[in-house]
Every structure is written in structure tokens, then in C-alpha cells.
Amino acid sequence: MPNQTLRKPAISISPEEYKALAQKYTPKPTLTKNILRAFLVGGLICALGQVIINIFSGIGLTPKEASNAATAAMIFLGSLLTGLGVYDEIGKFGGAGSIIPVTGFANSIVSPAMEFKREGYVQGVGAKLFTVAGPVLVYGIAASIIIGVLAYFLH
């Protein structure tokens, strides 16, 4: 069928009609699906984080220590799963649900560093670790200092 229409250029639809048809068959923006997946994956990652906090609390850490330790454990998990190539699969499904948690932060560190290993251990791995983490630390730490200075002068 498509071949026949190719040989006969006399297609009986106007460019406007073609546009309408093309629009009809273009997949609709999958916003709702993306939101549901982000909610599910992000929620599950945070629930896992809470389980780890509860375990650390159970062995006698203070709430702050338990939270810090759980963050470190989640970063370890995120880095390991990225190294194993598993986190990319989670990312394809979960979208922002896999990017926003610290596991996604860990992924953003390991992924480019691993990719650029052939450029060496200093300019490759060492530098690319901070492709995303760099900006995050720059803006995060700068914001915290501004907030600290404001707190100093306001109190």
C-alpha cells in the first residue's frame, strides 16, 4: 500500500489535512504516565530510605546520625546500581522519581565519571564525577552561606 501511494504522487489530501493526520498519529505527551511512575519510583526509594533509617535507629543511633547514615547507604546503593547498569533501567521507568532522590544524585556522579574513564583518572574520572554534583554543591553551599549570613544579621 505505501509503495503504491509513493508511485502515484496524486495523494488526495491537502498539507493541512496531512498535518492534522500526523498530529493524530503522533504519540500524545505521556505526562500522566510519567507523573504516576515518578510518584511510584520516588516513593519507593524514599520508603526504602526510611526502612534503613529505622534499622540504624534500632541499633542505637540518634535520629540525626541515623538519617545521615541512611543517606550514605542510599548513596552507596545508587552508585553500585549505576555501576552495575541497573540504575539506568530504573531511570528509564521512573524519570524524576529516580533523579530527585540521593540515589539519583549518586547516579549523576558515577555515570559521567565511568563514561569518561578513557580520558584518564584525573581529567576523566576525577573531573567528570562533578559534572552534576559540582553545580549542586556550588549552588547548595552558596545558598547555605547566604542563609547563614542573613541569620547572623537578623538575630
Binding site: 520516588g42 524524576a96 530527585i100
Partner: protein
Amino acid sequence: MFHLIFPAFIVGGLICVIGQLMMDLTKPSFTPAHVLVSFVTGGAVLGALGVYEPLVKFAGAGATIPLSGFGYSLAQGAIEGVGKRGLLGALSGGVEATAVGIAAAVFFGYLMSVTFNPKG
């Protein structure tokens, strides 16, 4: 053992939905890196305004595991630092409060990058 797991799931999920909306409703030039920077900065501002703290109390890891929680810890640390050491604390407080996370990210990140190779 099951303490806060359900609120963590709901709140953590909703925070990620905000991130998904930021990604889907903006131009492609607004990359995941921009989203993460926005979350850290936003978390720091909300933490400074005292808005994020109740969320942490209510949802635990649901508020601390998303990167906005990292921003909250940075702001909280800076404010506590000021209380203890004045302006010097404003400089040191944020990094001190998040030192475990930063060090873990650098060390585990390096370890895994060196150990593994990209697939495909």
C-alpha cells in the same frame, strides 16, 4: 520497623512528581542537572524559612532522601553554625551538617566509577 514508611512513600513520591513536572513542562534545555540544582537551592530556602522542617518531622526519609532534603540540611547547618560560632559558623555549618553525604558521594562515586565500565 514500620515507623514513617507510609508517609515517606507518599511525601517522597509527591516531591518527585514536582520534579517530573519541572522536567516535562519546561524546555529540553532545562536538564536534570537544572532540576537537581533547583531542588537543592529550593530546599535550602524552604529550610531557612522553617517550612521544610515540619515536612521532615512528618515524613522522615520522604523529605530527607530527595535532594531538597540536602538543601534543607545545608541551610539548617548554617543557621545552627551561626548560633554556635557566629559568622565563621555561617561558612562552616552547611558543609559540616552534610559532610557525611558529600564524602560518601565523592568516595563511593569514585570507587564505583573506577570499578565498573559502562554497559553497551
